[in-house]
Assembly symmetry: C2
Homo-oligomer: 255 residues x 2
DNA sequence: CGCATCGTTGATCAAGCTCAAGCCGCGTGG
DNA sequence: CCACGCGGCTTGAGCTTGATCAACGATGCG
C-alpha cells in the first residue's frame, strides 16, 4: 500500500486532475476508494457493468479485449497516473475490455454516482476527462491505421518505442507474448524479430524485458527512414519521432 | 440544399440532440451554419486545426486516415444524423483524420466557441456528446481487435453487415476499394471474395454496389457459426447478429 | 530438483499481396 | 451517334510475409 503522501503526489500530477485547486484535489481524493490487484487479477472484466472509474497509483494494468475464440488483443497498458474507464462509466455501459494487473498494482476508484457528482461540482474535471478520451481515441485510430497498413517489424518497433516513452528508461518490461498481442502478431514473430535486432545491436533481449540500445536505428525501422538518415538535431535525436507527439520526452532522456 | 423542415426532422431525431426540448433544439439549430460538399471534397482534412463540429444532414462522408506512404484507411463512414469531430473540437486539437464527401453531402457546422457555449447552456448536449464518443470508441476497439485477430473474409463480411445495418436496405453502396480500406486489405482480395460470394448466391455484386441476398449465410461467415447454424428465431434472423448491438435493426427489415 | 513460464529456432505452408493484363459500363466530347 | 477514356472490376500467376507446428533451451521459483 502506497503511503498517502505518495498517493497525493501522483494524483496532483496526473492529467485527470490537471488545473484543479488543492482543495478540489483533496475533495476528490477523499471520495475515492483504494483498490489493490495482484498480478493476473482484474480491476474489471469485459462484459461487466461499468460501475467505477479508476486511476492507477502503482503497477501496470493491461487493458485487453478477447474474441470468442479466445485470441486476445492488448488495447492499452496503463501506468501510474492514468485513468481507466473514463468513457464507459459516464455512459451506463458494460466494460468492452478487461483490466488485468500485470504486476502488483493499486488504483483509486470512484463509483459512477460519485464521479458524476464530482464532475458536476468541478466542471474542470469533466473537461479533463474529455481530453483524456480524445487523446486515447486518437492513439487508437493511429494504431488501427498502423495495423491495417504497416508491416509487422515496423509495428513492433513502434510499440517498443511507445512503451519506452511511457516508461522511464530504455528498458521495456514486456514479454514477447505481450508485444505480440499489442501488435497483432504472434510471439514467434516477435521473438524472431527481437533476435534479429539483437544480432544487429539494436536491442538487448531478456526474459520479459527488452532494452533499447540503439534508439536511432529502431526509429529508422519504425518510421521507415532511409538507412543513412541523419536526424536534424542528432544531439537530441529523441525529438524526431513523430510517434505520439512526445515533445515532453526529452526530459526523460538518459544522459 | 435541404428544405428547413427536413433539416429540422434530422436534427430532432439524431442522437446528439436526443432529450433536448424543442426550444433548445431551435436554439442550437439557429447557431449552426450549413456546409455543402461535392463528391471528393473535404469538410476537413487531417492535420488541420479542429475548428468545427459537424452533423451530417445528407449524403455520406468518409472519415479516413492516410499514412506517410499514402496508404489510406477508412475509419468510419458517416450518414445523415451523425456527428463528426465531437472529440477534437472540444480539446483544441488538430483533426487526426480527413472527412471527405463520397456523394453530394451537406452538414450543419458549429465552430468551437459556439458549441462550447451551447454545451454550457445545455448540459444535456455535453452528455450526449460523451455518449457518442463512447459508442464510437467501443466500435473502434472492436474493429481493432477484428483486424488483429480475424481473417480477411470474415472482416469483409462484418464490414458489409455493419454498413447494411446503417443504411436502409440490402444494398451497400461501396466500391471494392472502399471495402478494402475499411477492412485493411486490398481491392483485389475484396473483389475475389465478392466474386466467390456471388457464385455462392450470398450477394449480388454491382459497380460500386453490393446487394446482400442471403444475410443468414453472410452472418455465418461473419461470426464463424457452424454451416448448419439455425438461428434461435429464424423468422427474425436479423436479431441474432451480435455485431454492433443492433436491436433497433429489426424495424428496418424488409418484409 | 522439478515444474512452470518464457524464449528460440527450424521447417512448412497458406493466406493474401503484388503485378499484369484485360473487361465492362458509363459519361463526354467530337 | 460513336469513339474514346476513365474509373471500377475481374482474374490469373507468382511470390512474400508471417502463421503454425514442433521440439528444445533457459531461467527462475517453490
Amino acid at each position: 500500500m502506497l503511503p498517502i503522501a505518495n498517493q497525493h503526489a501522483i494524483i496532483s500530477q496526473c492529467a485527470f486532475f490537471h488545473g484543479l485547486t488543492a482543495a478540489e484535489v483533496m475533495l476528490v481524493q477523499q471520495a475515492a476508494v483504494t483498490v489493490q490487484a495482484a498480478p493476473g487479477s482484474f480491476f474489471f472484466q469485459q462484459g461487466e457493468e461499468a460501475t467505477a472509474l479508476y486511476i492507477v497509483l502503482s503497477g501496470q494494468v493491461r487493458l485487453s479485449q478477447i474474441n470468442p475464440e479466445g485470441r486476445q488483443v492488448i488495447v492499452h497498458i496503463f501506468g501510474p497516473g492514468e485513468a481507466m474507464g473514463v468513457i464507459v462509466v459516464l455512459s451506463n455501459m458494460t466494460y468492452p475490455v478487461s483490466a488485468e494487473a500485470m504486476v502488483d498494482s493499486a488504483a483509486l476508484a470512484w463509483n459512477r454516482q460519485t464521479i458524476n457528482q464530482l464532475m458536476k461540482e468541478i466542471p474542470h474535471l469533466a473537461l479533463n476527462g474529455l481530453r483524456l478520451v480524445a487523446q486515447r481515441f486518437m492513439e487508437l485510430q493511429e494504431r488501427y491505421r498502423e495495423l491495417a497498413t504497416e508491416r509487422v517489424e515496423r509495428r513492433i518497433a513502434r510499440a517498443l518505442i511507445r512503451q519506452m516513452q511511457r516508461g522511464n528508461g530504455r528498458a521495456v518490461p514486456l514479454t514477447r507474448q505481450d508485444l505480440a498481442e499489442m501488435t497483432g502478431t504472434t510471439l514467434y514473430t516477435v521473438s524472431r524479430t527481437c533476435s534479429a535486432w539483437e544480432q544487429a545491436g539494436i536491442v538487448s533481449a531478456g526474459r520479459g524485458l527488452i532494452t533499447i540500445n540503439d534508439y536511432h536505428r529502431l526509429l529508422v525501422i519504425a518510421e521507415d527512414l532511409p538507412p543513412d538518415h541523419q536526424c536534424p538535431q542528432p544531439a537530441t535525436c529523441f525529438y524526431c519521432s513523430p510517434i505520439l507527439n512526445c515533445d515532453h520526452f526529452a526530459v526523460k532522456r538518459e544522459t
